[in-house]
């Protein structure tokens, strides 16, 4: 079974500041990490590798040469191969161009794999668009916000947490899943993992190597225009019941849980 895990290097969100005038992130001087949702995705892939025979995991990322560090992390945590899509022509990519580039990279290296695993979103841009767009480009179904996976009779069965619902979903392969949560204690690679990860050759693909059409990549291939970024404050209402109106409260409570 071939599994592709799409990963992204992001700035540390606990260190980053926001430029309130432009609404963009001030990235300078802030070190980068593997996007936490991507790491959950990688953990799921490794779990499948442990449970099933002949699983091969390939990690893909698009970015500058410095992104190698997250690919090394992916290799140390259990990926078998790593692919870096690196070309000046990729600069300025929006979600669409990124999804296109990653899809071309996947097709060039492994063809459509059995499972593509993505984090539900990256914590820097938070758009959550790339996984869906990749699935659309490769014409495969997508199962979102997955927390658990299992392979049964050639199907992938997943547990999916969507807002306030828990779903069990099943799909034929190939399929793309997005991962919404995982263990908050990150794994730590051993010296053997490190030795293997740092000896592995990372495949670097240019736009040409990946067979990209130049009109679909970088700024040219990015139709998104950010008009304004603002913080949305959710306004939940809190109702308090006490001994005076307890029965009303219980009624209200039961209407919510049976909704």
């Amino acid at each position: 079974m071939n599994i592709a895990v799409l990963i992204k290097q992001v700035p540390r969100t606990d260190r980053i500041k926001i430029d309130h005038e432009t609404g963009t992130l001030i990235r300078s001087g802030v070190e980068s990490i593997l996007n936490p949702y991507c790491e959950y995705g990688l953990d799921l892939a490794v779990e499948l590798k442990k449970r099933f025979a002949d699983v091969k995991i390939t990690a893909f990322t698009m970015g500058p040469v410095s992104s190698e560090i997250v690919l090394r992390r992916a290799l140390a945590l259990g990926a078998d191969e790593a692919v870096l899509l690196n070309d000046k022509a990729f600069a300025g990519s929006d979600c669409r161009a990124t999804a296109y580039t990653l899809s071309r990279g996947i097709l060039a290296v492994t063809g459509v794999p059995d499972i593509i695993i993505c984090g539900k979103q990256a914590v820097d841009g938070d758009t959550a668009q790339v996984p869906g767009e990749v699935s659309s480009i490769l014409n495969i179904p997508v199962l979102p916000y997955v927390t658990q996976v299992n392979c049964i009779d050639g199907y992938l069965e997943v547990r999916s947490e969507i807002e306030n619902e828990l779903l069990t979903l099943r799909s034929e392969l190939p399929v793309l899943i997005t991962v919404g949560s995982g263990s908050n204690i990150r794994r730590m690679p051993s010296i053997d993992d490190v030795s293997r990860a740092f000896r592995k050759k990372i495949t670097v693909l240019s736009a040409k190597d990946a067979g990209c059409d130049s009109s679909n990549i970088g700024l040219k291939g990015s139709p998104t225009r950010v008009v304004k970024i603002e913080t949305v404050v959710s306004k939940g209402k809190c109702r308090i019941f006490n001994e005076k109106n307890l029965s009303e409260g219980l009624d209200y409570f039961s209407t919510i849980i049976y909704k």
Partner: protein, 511 residues
């Protein structure tokens, strides 16, 4: 105009501020606290104290743990308002970068300053100041006075190695600027300052990391008599520090099945010529068990995966990737494991900053855990406190020292943990008294351990200093003659014995 009008000052309040430090030494008191803003103002206060015969104590940030900053009468001179940093400069002769800072600047300030201004050397490496005594809130002046070190002194050495020059207010109020490499003791041990001569203390320092007593070496540099002098020879107001290239790091924890294996592993790490670790640290079986329990009680307190139960001890080390890459480091470690037959042991590694921090937090969790544990016992027995050793011995005697630790402590039945700077043969034995009887027993054992370290040509204090609470151990180490030698130097600089009284040795014994 008097110093009272010109220089910020206030009466010492009952709030205890500037009257206590991290040693929690009680009884600190003073008349007034002064906040000079520069060397000149500091000099004016010192001259006034000499004129009026008022003792004075210097206060940095109060992070010391042996009471060096705690005043007993007189004036307190706080250096906290001396907070300027210069620009990073390049010394053409030494081919190194340096930074001039005022004494009140903290290690954290320096770290942030260098990071914020994004200082790089010609080859694109970020610059940093390598002294890291864990307590980054310490003032640079305080770290000079105590020759602060910490884990990374294994590679980089203590504060002494990083001082280019000092601006010092001598105990008579004169301002002196002392640059490294300009004045040395002659073959007879005679040194000159401001036209007057003195002999360096005639003592033999141990051949290991040491923070006990004054510095003394044949043909030593004048600057070294002040560094680590616990403030008894002058007040540091300005410092020029050398900076170092910051290389990417590789951090590792190796878990081993017993202490013997851990000691062997450390020996091999030290023997290897290529690795040159930044530090090598250790946590023993009792320490690791304490951390395991804490992690299992509260997952969020220690953010690490589970440690397999058959592994009892942990060796931590960091490598600066200047000469070696990660693959080469893993090769060397692999070779060591092969030789020691510890391939079955497991390890955790990190090379990304966020993961390195995680390992660091795990390492620092033990002293914090011990302190929390002690504070619980204190609720029942308020007089209880931790007894932490700061002993170090030369390489060849380290195994004897560790054997002695366990022998005496295991027989005593006391609760204790062992952790610390194993690379420097400098373990912190933390005796944890569960009641008053234990505390008494602990003191006796502490004395025996210190005595044995001296017997093994070691030191009674490798980094914390003597301050006001460890006088008798310094006597044990250097004998009465050694103490007299140091007092002679103190008398040369400060005949009235007004500056930082009771640091290093007792005032009343002064002749």
């Amino acid at each position: 105009m008097t110093i009272f009008d010109e220089i910020t000052n206030r009466a010492a309040g009952s709030d205890g501020e500037y009257l206590c430090d991290e040693s929690r030494l009680s009884g600190g008191n003073a008349v007034r606290i002064f906040f000079p803003e520069n060397a000149l103002q500091t000099s004016q206060i010192v001259k006034y104290c000499n004129q009026e015969i008022i003792p004075f104590t210097v206060y940095g940030k109060g992070t010391g743990i042996t009471g060096g900053a705690v005043p007993f009468g007189g004036f307190v001179i706080s250096i906290e308002k001396m907070k300027n940093s210069g620009a990073v400069s390049f010394d053409k002769d030494a081919k190194k970068f340096f930074l001039k800072v005022d004494a009140g600047v903290t290690l954290n300030d320096i770290k942030e300053f260098l990071h914020r201004k994004e200082y790089f050397d010609m080859t694109g490496y970020e610059l940093f100041y390598p002294v890291d005594p864990t307590e980054m809130g310490a003032s640079i002046g305080g770290t000079v006075a105590t020759n602060a070190s910490g884990a990374s002194s294994f590679r980089y050495g203590p504060t002494r190695n990083w001082i280019k020059s000092l601006e010092i207010i001598l105990p008579d109020g004169e301002i002196a600027v002392i640059k490294r490499g300009e004045q040395f003791a002659d073959d007879n041990g005679s040194m000159e300052i401001n036209g007057k001569h003195f002999l360096i203390p005639d003592i033999k320092m141990p051949e290991c990391k040491n923070a006990a007593g004054l510095y003394s070496r044949k043909n030593m540099d004048l600057i070294d008599i002040f560094i680590g002098s616990e403030g008894i020879l002058g007040i540091v107001t300005g410092v020029e520090i050398w900076l170092e290239r910051k290389y990417p790091s590789f951090s590792m924890i190796k878990f081993l099945k017993n202490e013997h294996k851990a000691l062997e592993f450390v020996k091999m790490l030290k023997k290897n010529k290529e690795l040159d670790p930044v530090f090598i640290e250790y946590v023993d079986e009792r320490g690791l068990e304490m951390l395991r329990k804490k992690r299992n009680r509260d997952r969020s307190s220690i953010n690490i995966p589970e440690i397999e139960p058959e592994f009892k001890t942990a060796v931590f080390f960091d490598i600066a990737l200047d000469k070696l890459g990660v693959a080469e480091v893993s090769d060397i470690v692999d070779e060591i494991e092969e030789k020691l037959n510890v391939r079955d042991a497991f390890s955790w590694c990190a090379w990304e900053e966020i993961e390195i921090e995680r390992i660091r937090a795990f390492r620092h969790a033990l002293p914090e855990t011990v302190n929390t544990y002690i504070s619980e016992i204190k609720k029942i027995y308020p007089e209880i406190h931790k007894l932490g050793t700061d002993l170090a011995v030369p390489d060849e005697n380290f195994e004897m020292m560790t054997a002695f630790y366990h022998d005496i402590l295991d027989r005593s039945g006391l609760n204790y943990v062992v952790f610390g700077h194993i690379g420097n043969n400098h373990l912190h034995i933390n005796i944890i008294p569960e009641n008053v009887e234990d505390l008494k027993k602990g003191f006796e054992i502490y004395k025996k351990l210190a005595g044995y370290a001296v017997e093994l040509k070691g030191t009674v204090s490798a980094e914390h200093g003597i301050g006001k609470i460890k006088h008798r151990y310094l006597v044990e180490m250097y004998g009465e003659n050694g103490i007299s030698e140091m007092k002679r130097v103190k008398f040369f600089f400060d005949p009235g014995y007004l500056l930082n009284r009771n640091n290093m040795f007792e005032y009343m014994e002064m002749k």
